[in-house]
C-alpha cells in the first residue's frame, strides 16, 4: 500500500487554449482530510473530475489509491467514493432502491445488509422505503454520502458537500465526514469555497487560482502562520489575489 492516497504530477486539463487546470502537482497522504479551496471557476471541479476519471487529462499524470487514472480507471473507480455538487438521484425510486443500484454498480452482489449499516451511519434508519422525490436538499446530501461509502472506498471525493445546506445540515454533514475519516480511515478530498469548512474539518489545504495551485500545506502549519480564521481568510484571498470588498 502506498503512502499517498493521491499523487498528481503536472496534471493538466485544457479546453482549446484555456487551461481549466494547469500542471497540478500534489500529494495527499492516506488518512488526511484535504480541502481544496478556490473561487468559482478556479478548477476545483475539474480537478475532482480528473481524479474520479470522469475527465481525461490533456497532460500530466495522477495516481489515486495506487492506481493510475489514465491506465487503470476501473481500479480507481473501485477505490473511490464520489459525491458530486448538487447530487441528484432517481426520485421515483426509494432510498433503498437507489442505494441498491449504486451498490451493485460498485460490485456489491448483495448490497442490502451493507445498505442497512450505511443508513445507520448517516442517520437514515426508517427512511429506506421512502421515495427520494420527497427528500430535502440536506437529506439528499446525506444519501449522497451513503452511496459514496457503500463499497467501503479508500478515498472519498466531495464536491462542495455543504453547498446550499442550512446550518444544521452543515453541522450534521461535517460530523459524518469527520467520523468517516476518524473511524474508518477514509481519506477525504473535499472541494469547497467555504473557509469555515476547511478550518473545522480539514487536516491540510490547497488553494487553486485560475487552474494553478498557489498554496498547499497542512492546516496546522497554515494556522501556525495565520492563527485566526480571519488570518486564514487573508491567506485565501491573498493567494487567490482577490480584492475583498
Amino acid at each position: 500500500m502506498t503512502e499517498y492516497a493521491i499523487r498528481t504530477e503536472d496534471l493538466s486539463r485544457a479546453y482549446g487554449a484555456h487551461f481549466a487546470l494547469s500542471a497540478l502537482t500534489l500529494d495527499v497522504p492516506r488518512g488526511e482530510i484535504f480541502g481544496l479551496l478556490g473561487h468559482n471557476g478556479a478548477g476545483k471541479t475539474t480537478t475532482v473530475g480528473l481524479l474520479t476519471t470522469l475527465l481525461e487529462p490533456t497532460a500530466g499524470s495522477a495516481n489515486v489509491a495506487g492506481a493510475d487514472i489514465a491506465g487503470q480507471a476501473a481500479a480507481v473507480r473501485r477505490a473511490i467514493g464520489y459525491l458530486p455538487e448538487n447530487v441528484q438521484f432517481y426520485d421515483d425510486l426509494t432510498l433503498r432502491e437507489n442505494l441498491r443500484f449504486f451498490g451493485r454498480l460498485s460490485g456489491l452482489r448483495h448490497p442490502d445488509s451493507r445498505i442497512d449499516e450505511v443508513l445507520v451511519l448517516v442517520d437514515f434508519e426508517g427512511h429506506a422505503d421512502e421515495r427520494l422525490g420527497t427528500f430535502s436538499k440536506g437529506m439528499r446530501q446525506r444519501v449522497g454520502i451513503a452511496q459514496a461509502i457503500l463499497h467501503r472506498p479508500q478515498v472519498l471525493f466531495l464536491d462542495e458537500p455543504t453547498s446550499g445546506l442550512d446550518p444544521e445540515g452543515v453541522r450534521h454533514l461535517r460530523e459524518i465526514i469527520v467520523r468517516l475519516n476518524g473511524e474508518f480511515g477514509i481519506t477525504v478530498f473535499m472541494n469547497t469555497h467555504l473557509l469555515s469548512e476547511v478550518s473545522r474539518t480539514c487536516t491540510s489545504i490547497g488553494i487553486l487560482r485560475q487552474g494553478v495551485l498557489v498554496h498547499h500545506d497542512t492546516l496546522a502549519k497554515t494556522l501556525g502562520t495565520f492563527p485566526t480564521e480571519e488570518a486564514l481568510e487573508d491567506t485565501y484571498f491573498r493567494a487567490s489575489a482577490t480584492v475583498r470588498e
Binding site: T53, R77, V87, Q88, F102, L105
Partner: protein, 293 residues
C-alpha cells in the same frame, strides 16, 4: 457482468415506476386486445354484406371471407405495432436516455466501475426486456382473444405463427427504442430528442415507401415501371423497415403470400443492430452532458 445486470434491473424498475411508459403500454396492450375482436366483427360484417349481394343475385362467386384463417382477424395489430408500438418504443428510449441527463445522475453513475458501453448496453438490455414483456403480454392477449373468437384454442401451427410475429415485433421495436436512446443522448432539448426520431420514423413509414409512386410524383398516374420513378421505388421501398415489417407480418398472420421473407427480416434485424451499435459508440462526454429543459 453484474454491473450489466444492475443496469438492466434498474431500467426495468424505472419503467415500472414511471407513469408515461405505463400509459403507453396500457394503450398498446389494450389496442392489441381489441384488435382480434375488431377484425372478427369487420370480417363478419363484410361477409354478411357479401352474402346479401349473392342472395340478391348480383354475383355468383363464392364468399371469399368464409375460409379466412382466424389469424387474419389479428391483422390490425400490424398497423398498431407500426403506428403505436414504434412510437412507444421511441418514447421509452428517449425517456431512458434523458433520465440520467435530466436528473444529473450521469456523473454519479459513471464514477462507479462501470464502462460506458456496459451502461448503455444494459440500458438497451433493460428496454429490450420491457419491450419483451409488453410484446409477450400483447401476444398472449391476442392468443386469448383469437381463441375466444374461434371458440377453441389456437392450433400449434397457428400459435407458432403468432409467436413468430411476436418475436419479429420485438426485434422491430428494439431498433426504435435504441433510436430513441440515441436521440436522447445526442440532442440537447427534450422536445427535439423526441421529435427527431419521430421524423425519422415518419420517413421510414410514409416517405420511403411512396418515393417513386404516384403519391409523391408530380405527374399523376405515372406507371412505376418507368424511368427515374421506377429506380427510386426499387431502391427506397426495400429500405422502409416499416413496409418490410408489414409485409412479413402479413405473411405470418396468413395474409396473401408475398416474396421470400428473409431479406425483410434481415433488414429489420440490421436496423435494430445498427441503432444499437451507433448508440453503444456514444462518447463519454455525450453521456455526461446535461439537457436544456
Amino acid at each position: 457482468m453484474s454491473e450489466f445486470r444492475a443496469v438492466v434491473a434498474h431500467e426495468i424498475l424505472a419503467n415500472r415506476r414511471s407513469r408515461a411508459p405505463q400509459l403507453l403500454i396500457g394503450v398498446f396492450v389494450g389496442m392489441v386486445a381489441v384488435s382480434a375482436v375488431i377484425g372478427w366483427i369487420t370480417t363478419n360484417t363484410v361477409s354478411g354484406v357479401y352474402d346479401q349481394i349473392r342472395a340478391n343475385g348480383l354475383t355468383s362467386q363464392p364468399n371469399p371471407f368464409t375460409d379466412v384463417s382466424v389469424l387474419y382477424y389479428a391483422r390490425n395489430t400490424i398497423i398498431y405495432v407500426v403506428l403505436v408500438g414504434s412510437l412507444m418504443a421511441i418514447a421509452l428510449g428517449v425517456e431512458s436516455a434523458l433520465r440520467d441527463r435530466k436528473a444529473a445522475t450521469a456523473d454519479l453513475v459513471l464514477s462507479r466501475p462501470v464502462h460506458p458501453r456496459v451502461l448503455l448496453g444494459g440500458r438497451v438490455g433493460g428496454l429490450a426486456t420491457v419491450l419483451g414483456l409488453i410484446v409477450g403480454s400483447g401476444t398472449l392477449v391476442s392468443w386469448i382473444s383469437l381463441s375466444l373468437v374461434q371458440g377453441a384454442s389456437l392450433s400449434v401451427p397457428l400459435t407458432a405463427r403468432l409467436l413468430a410475429f411476436g418475436i419479429l415485433t420485438w426485434a422491430f421495436l428494439v431498433g426504435f427504442a435504441a433510436a430513441g436512446v440515441l436521440s436522447g443522448l445526442y440532442l440537447r432539448r427534450e422536445t427535439t430528442a423526441l421529435l427527431a426520431p419521430f421524423v425519422g420514423w415518419a420517413i421510414l413509414a410514409f416517405v420511403l415507401p411512396q418515393l417513386g409512386t404516384a403519391l409523391l410524383n408530380p405527374v399523376a398516374q405515372v406507371p412505376r415501371t418507368s424511368g427515374i420513378f421506377h429506380i427510386l421505388s426499387y431502391l427506397t421501398n426495400p429500405l422502409s423497415v416499416t413496409e418490410q415489417f408489414k409485409a412479413v407480418s402479413s405473411s405470418l398472420l396468413e395474409g396473401p403470400p408475398g416474396p421470400s421473407p428473409f431479406p425483410a427480416v434481415a433488414l429489420i434485424v440490421a436496423f435494430s443492430a445498427a441503432m444499437t451499435i451507433a448508440m453503444l459508440a456514444t462518447p463519454l462526454r455525450r453521456i455526461r452532458g446535461g439537457i436544456d429543459v
